[in-house]
């Protein structure tokens, strides 16, 4: 039952948050500063998420095979590789480094 409560609360909360962004009045968004900020916020969020999912295990910072995988993805991006290839490079290199490390 507890699990269902958690699922319900999360579902409602996450949906309301998504809808809020879409319902903010258009006039507010016409302001140049707000536009600029709305364009930069995804940059900040994606950068933080990338770093956390690569260099952290739960709440503690770590440096493991995922770092090599992300570096491979970065190289693939610099070479203008297609999206799926970028992700595949990260997965393969991470698995490879892990296999070598034991």
């Amino acid at each position: 039952m507890n699990v269902w409560i958690a699922i319900g609360v999360t579902a409602v909360g996450c949906y309301v948050v998504k809808l809020t962004g879409l319902l903010v009045p258009a006039g507010f968004l016409e302001k140049p500063l707000v536009r600029r900020l709305a364009a930069l916020l995804p940059v900040a969020l994606l950068a933080a998420l990338t770093a956390q999912q690569t260099f952290a295990d739960g709440r503690s910072p770590v440096l493991d095979a995922r770092a090599a995988g992300l570096a491979a993805a970065a190289v693939a991006l610099l070479l203008r590789a297609p999206f799926l290839l970028v992700v595949a490079a990260a997965v393969v290199v991470t698995a490879g480094v892990r296999a070598m490390a034991g």
């Binding site: 958690a6 809020t20 962004g21 709305a38 930069l40 933080a48 770093a51 993805a73 992700v87």
Partner: protein, 215 residues
């Protein structure tokens, strides 16, 4: 997959995927429940991770220009991936197509793989051994890369990385990401001061969609 391994039933796993549909929040919820957290603490962490979707919605609503009646339907698809695809499109028409196609495809695939994953979790075992845990950050990096056009974006990204990692051990799950979002206003403010003209003056040069209309 993860959820099947931490005591959620098949039905609960699929309901979570269908109703929440924000990967990071789902994993956070499952992780917190597996660690023995109360349903409300678990939900709070998942909620904080979902807050960033509001910022995406803010940006998307000006690009999509949806009729009010459609917005509640579109809202469920406001996530990292759909935002990134929509932001990369040159015209309003392709923004709408990109958002819809990405949303629909991901919604179907995400929930199908959740079902398959939940059913077959034990057959595969430890996903980490396959390097699949590196796929998430690689996807984010691929989405982020095209956005890093000017020094401003790079400064924001750099500051966000430092904040997001540095605060991880000291703040509850999901909160460091939100604090990292403050890198955006902070960099804008610093830049405005340096140019001595206030941040508003920056808006003219490099905001895409400055004309805002279909092209």
């Amino acid at each position: 997959m993860t959820s099947a391994g931490s005591g959620l039933t098949l039905l609960q796993t699929c309901a979570l995927s269908l109703l929440v549909f924000t990967g990071a929040s789902q994993f956070a919820l499952v992780g917190a429940l597996a660690a023995g957290g109360s349903p409300f603490t678990a939900a709070a962490g998942a909620f904080f991770l979902g807050v960033r979707n509001a910022f995406y919605g803010l940006r998307l609503s000006q690009l999509l220009a949806l009729p009010r009646a459609v917005r509640p339907l579109a809202a469920q698809w406001v996530i990292d991936e759909t935002t990134a695809v929509a932001l990369a499109q040159p015209t309003r028409r392709s923004v709408r197509i990109g958002f819809t196609v990405t949303g629909l495809t991901l919604y179907v695939l995400w929930n199908l793989t959740t079902l398959l994953g939940a059913v077959g979790a034990r057959a595969i075992g430890d996903t980490g051994a396959w390097g699949l845990d590196a796929a998430g950050p690689a996807v984010f990096l691929a989405l982020l890369a095209p956005m890093l056009k000017t020094t401003t974006e790079r400064a924001v990204a750099g500051a966000a990385v430092v904040l997001g990692l540095g605060l991880l051990p000291v703040l509850p799950a999901g909160v460091p990401v939100l604090v990292a979002a403050l890198a955006a206003p902070a960099v804008l403010w610093a830049e405005g001061r340096r140019r001595g003209a206030g941040p508003v003056a920056l808006a003219a040069d490099d905001v895409p969609y400055e004309q805002g209309e279909d092209r």
